[in-house]
Each structure stands twice: as structure tokens, then as C-alpha cells.
Symmetry: C2
Subunit: 229 residues, 2 copies
């Protein structure tokens, strides 16, 4: 029986990790002997709500990296797609690489290795109902608005949410949202915002404070420490 | 010559650290053989812009803890004050314990041990000019408004700031702000908000992503990792 790939993870791992200053893209930096991206993919591999995974890789190293990932023995890794100049170019390439039968797509930052199968499943389930859902957490810090280095307002923290990934969408909905964004020339690093711009409801699923995006050396230390527990 | 104590740090270390679930208040949990609070106080000790430190401690253990801190050999540790039921009660006790000559007060969370002397000095300098200033960083994540688990708006991240401590104020200004808050019964966990409520300008000084408030076991791992570098 042919394996159906209705719920596809799109792992965005095309960043050059310039902030790290090293030669290795941050998603391939090793923690406890495994690349960060390995942990990310392992969480999706273990999630029953995900059928297959497409990994978006830096165009310049796609062949070598895809071979490397193929060697990790993950049964759900189905394809690699080439990253573009900006994040939205990369996601667009990934959306074009989806199999025809794909109904839901879970877009996730490759540099969020502490994501759990339970959160992924909850996002997929909410998106299956509502069309669009993402993982988010309440901010721990007070958040203010500022202008020119001066406070202009203190926001009501209880109404705010810090956005994480995965962000899961019905495939037709996110494709339409990207089409509209392309027409308006109004892309975003936040895919959900494009769906919101259509007036479509977006649901928030409880994320996890550990599910950080690794962008600095300290973040890597945090991940290292979390993976030791 | 008598030592003048014009710029006083008020270190709020009165929390019971319930989220840790342990018997030891979180600010006394040890990292690399030193209590978290030791690192916090060491940063203020090393900052030339600070003349003395008052530490606000849990009322039930104030005598023993104050003796412990006195044993750390910090030349600027001048007094302990008892914490109250809520954070604002603790700060109020601290404000009442300020020496008469105090002109500026730097209120800081004891559980932010990664603060640096440079950031403290920058906040003191800005508050000396403007009357009120705090350390803040730009959010790394997208921030949205939500209601009932659904997104209601995506905010412009470029205009937002995550609030850290220290928050530094002219003593007369923060005392007036607390008086007004007391009259209105409108306290906050964010002292700057009370000053904003007076219509007084508040300046933002660049903080540091490492300057987190330790509230969970993962945070402790992060601090541990940062202090190893």
C-alpha cells in the first residue's frame, strides 16, 4: 500500500547562521554529538500526526546536506528543497515541493530543536479544525511600546502571546495567503500573519518556553543544558 | 570622610521561588558553588555608578540570610529590608529603608544574576538625566494579541521592547509614583509603569538577552551555562 503523505512538515533550515560567526550553519552545529537539526527532525519523526518531512536547505550545500540527513535513518524524511534569499522565498520553495495529496503543512524553524511531538500534534489537530494554528507562550517579561528610546505605552501582558513554530495550515489556505502576499509585495517572517491578512481565524496552541529559536551562542548553551536533563 | 550613598541599589530577593518546588528560595540556589544572589550583588559591587546596596529578603529568614550575605565580603552591602506579601510591598519596604541622602535608586530583581556593571551604569546615567530609565531588549519572537485562544492582531515588533531590570529612578519620583499607586490601589510588578502613570518620561537603555529572570529550572541551566563561558 502506498504511504499517504497528507500531513507534511516543512522544516526551514536554510539559514546561514551568520550571527554565530562560524563556518557551519547553525542548524548543523553539534550538541552532544548530534546536529541541532537532528533533534528537530527527530521530534517530527516521533509525532504520529506527521506523515512526512521536507527539509529546506541552503541552496549552496543542498546535495551534501540532503545526503547527510538521509544517513540519519529517519523514515519520514522525504525530500529536500532549496532555500531562497529570504525566509519567505524558502517557505515558498517548500510549498511548491509539497506532494499532491498534502492537506496540512507544519512549517517549523529548523533551529527550534526543543519542540516536542505533543506540541506538534496539538498544532496539527487545531489546524485540522480551524485551518491555521501555531504554538505560542505568554510573555514572561513586561512588554512596552517605545519610540526614539522612550516608552510610549505599557501593554497588557495578559493579552499577548509570543509566537513560536510549528505553524500549521491547510495547504490551500497558506498557498492562497502566499499568493496574496506576493501580489501585494507584503511578505513576513511570520507565516500566520499572511493568513490573518486574509481575515481567516488563527488559533493559538500552548507552546513551551524551552521551544526557543537558536540564534545566539547562549541559546546553544540553553539547548545543550535542556538536552542533558 | 563619610561615604556618601547617593546611588543605592535595591535588590529584590524576597521571592519564595515556588516555581522551583524546592526548599531553598531560588535566589539562594547555588551555581558553580555560589548562590545566584551572589552573582547579582557582585555585578552591583563592581559598578562604580552604585554607592551601596540594600537587599530585600524573605521576612521569615531575614536575619540568617543577612548574616550570610554579610559574609560575602561585599563592601557596598549596607542593609537588609524585609519582603512583603507582593513584589510592590517589598519594593515599598526597600524605598522606606533608603538612606536620607539617596538620590537615585536602582531596583533590580535578585534573580537576574547575569546583569553586568556596564548595563547598571548606563541605566544610572540615563536616570540621572531623565529621572527614570530601565534596561530593555527587542523581542526576538513575533508578538501577537490574542483573545480566547485566537489571534486578534499581530504587533509591529520593531516598536516593542521586553522590559528587564535594573529600573533606575530619582528617589523622589519613584516615591511619588508609589504614593499615587497606593492612593489608586493600582500597583504593578513593573515599577516603571507607575512612573509612566504620572506622565513622566521613561528612557530605555539597551539590556542584554542574557539578563533573564530565573523563574524555571531551564533558566537555571542557562545561567549555569553562561557563567561557564
Amino acid at each position: 500500500m502506498e504511504k499517504r503523505m497528507k500531513r507534511v512538515a516543512l522544516i526551514v533550515a536554510a539559514g546561514q547562521g551568520k550571527r554565530f560567526g562560524g563556518a557551519v550553519s547553525k542548524q548543523f552545529v553539534e550538541v552532544h554529538g548530534r546536529p541541532l537539526l537532528w533533534y528537530t527532525l527527530a521530534a517530527f519523526e516521533q509525532c504520529p500526526a506527521i506523515d512526512s518531512m521536507i527539509v529546506i536547505l541552503p541552496a549552496a550545500e543542498i546535495a551534501a546536506r540532503a545526503e547527510e540527513i538521509a544517513g540519519w535513518g529517519l523514515t519520514k524524511f522525504s525530500a529536500a528543497a532549496a532555500g531562497g534569499a529570504e525566509r519567505h522565498d524558502s517557505v515558498l520553495n517548500g510549498l511548491q515541493a509539497l506532494p499532491e495529496e498534502a492537506e496540512l503543512v507544519a512549517i517549523h524553524d529548523g533551529a527550534r530543536p526543543l519542540i516536542t511531538p505533543a506540541i506538534i500534534a496539538a498544532c496539527v489537530s487545531a489546524a485540522a479544525e480551524c485551518g491555521a494554528a501555531f504554538a505560542g507562550v505568554a510573555p514572561k517579561d513586561t512588554i512596552k511600546e517605545a519610540e526614539g528610546g522612550m516608552v510610549t505605552a505599557t501593554l497588557d501582558r495578559r493579552r499577548l502571546v509570543l509566537v513560536q513554530t510549528p505553524q500549521v495550515f491547510r495547504v490551500d489556505l497558506i498557498r492562497h495567503a502566499y499568493d496574496m502576499a506576493f501580489d501585494r509585495g507584503a511578505f513576513s517572517t511570520d507565516d500566520a500573519a499572511l493568513v490573518e491578512a486574509l481575515g481567516h481565524p488563527v488559533r493559538i496552541v500552548p507552546g513551551d518556553y524551552r521551544n526557543i529559536k537558536v540564534t545566539s551562542p547562549e541559546d546553544l548553551l540553553f539547548v545543550q543544558a535542556c538536552l542533558e536533563i
